[in-house]
């Protein structure tokens, strides 16, 4: 018959306590390293996610600008979205000197950009590109002194992209403005013959 106060039992209890202590320290170290790596991983993921959303947004706007230029050049409606024929829209606005018909949040779907980014990052979500006319100069004919003769304007394109990692909730809206002009005077404007120029370099990018 032994009791807890006997030396062999005390040694056993001390051993167990020491082993538990070592295990506790090991567990704490394990948790600390887990949290550390988790924190580093989250920061890195967030940074990568934001970069991807910005790149995807800029690519989407670039694709939309290409579609817009094609529609202006060939006078054909853009596939998908609101399916607008931008040559007709702008010609009508210039002839009527009234841009209100254009500004209705017209949309262009960035299908190629979506395909490319989805093949790399399936959960990245890219909205349609919204196009608006934000500034214009539709001159009277004959033009007033000191004013340019050619119709021109500034188009704003914006797109919202949601990051791949839903838990981090990355969502960025990228806005760009581009300048365009027509080489035909309003009095001589013919929708069929006018040549449109949409400049490739943006006037600025805003990330919100």
């Amino acid at each position: 018959m032994t009791t807890l106060t006997e030396p062999s039992n005390r040694t056993g209890i001390a051993t167990i306590v020491l082993v538990l202590l070592v295990l506790l320290i090991l567990a704490m170290m394990g948790f600390a390293s887990f949290f550390q790596s988790s924190g580093t991983g989250r920061t890195y993921s967030r940074v990568v996610d934001i970069r991807q959303t910005i790149e995807a947004g800029e690519s989407a706007i670039f694709e939309a600008a290409s579609c817009l230029r094609e529609s202006m050049d060939k006078s054909q409606p853009i596939k998908g979205g609101t399916g607008d024929n931008w040559r007709e829209l702008i010609c009508q606005a210039v002839q009527n000197r009234d841009p209100s018909g254009i500004n209705k949040d017209r949309r262009i779907p960035p299908t190629l950009t979506r395909d490319v980014f989805r093949s790399e990052v399936p959960s990245l979500r890219i909205n349609d590109v919204i196009v608006n006319l934000v500034g214009q100069h539709f001159p009277t004919y004959p033009p007033l002194e000191g004013q340019p003769m050619y119709p021109c304007g500034v188009i704003e394109m914006s797109v919202t992209v949601f990051g791949a990692q839903r838990i981090l909730q990355v969502a960025k809206t990228i806005r760009q403005r581009r300048f365009f002009y027509l080489n035909a005077k309003p009095g001589e404007l013919s929708c069929a013959s006018a040549i449109f120029f949409l400049l490739p370099e943006s006037l600025g990018t805003v990330i919100e």
Binding site: A32, G39, P148, C152, V154, F179, L203
Partner: protein, 207 residues
């Protein structure tokens, strides 16, 4: 006698285990500091990257930006209605203790106030701004080199010992976007590109 032997053996084992844990703890601490340092460098780089991405150019100004080794000043674009406003932004290095620096970012807000933020949680060993020119395509690039020190680096007294420590280094190179048609009469009547009222590029700090 046997009990003493067992206690001695156990004590030795526990001591050895604790020494191993101590050593492992120190290594983990170093790894954690390196990781945090790299994170700080990454976050500073991203902050500057996003401002560079929104860089704008005043058509009436000769320079798109002002640059010295310790300072960089440029405009950031903001869309306000039909106009494009240019908001002055300046990055500079602020001297700290023990040969360290801090990054400071100054922005002029639309109401004309100057808003300065110093990133004191990321002490820097090195920060420099430079410009690269590509003569072939006539393009210009801005370059930022950042070396972030460990955040508890203040306990060390010499820069030499700091250089042997772990640190996070990042280099950012971004092309200066130059919009087409700047200064064109047609563009001027379609939109106004102007700096915020009563502000120009923020002046550079003396070296």
């Amino acid at each position: 006698m046997v009990e003493i032997l067992v206690v001695c053996t156990l004590s030795t084992t526990v001591f050895a285990a604790l020494m191993g844990l101590w050593n492992g703890g120190i290594k983990m601490n170093r790894a954690a500091q390196s990781s945090t340092t790299l994170q700080n460098a990454l976050l500073l780089e991203e902050t500057i990257f996003q401002d560079f991405h929104q860089l704008g150019i005043d058509p009436k100004s000769v320079n798109s930006h002002l640059q010295a080794e310790n300072c960089l000043s440029f405009y950031r674009v903001a869309f306000v209605g039909n106009e494009i406003r240019l908001r002055p932004v300046k990055y500079a290095r602020v001297k700290g203790q023990n040969g360290l620096f801090f990054l400071s970012r100054t922005e002029v807000t639309p109401d004309g106030k100057t808003n300065t933020k110093v990133y004191r949680n990321a002490p820097l060993q090195h920060l420099s701004f430079g410009q690269l020119e590509d003569a072939t395509f006539n393009r210009r690039y801005l370059r930022v080199d950042i070396t972030v020190a460990e955040s508890d680096r203040q306990i060390n007294t010499s820069v030499q010992s700091a250089n042997q420590e772990r640190r996070g280094c990042r280099t950012l190179v971004a092309r200066i976007p130059i919009p087409s048609g700047l200064g064109d009469l047609c563009l001027n009547v379609a939109t106004k590109i102007t700096p915020e009222p009563a502000s120009g590029l923020l002046p550079l700090d003396p070296p």
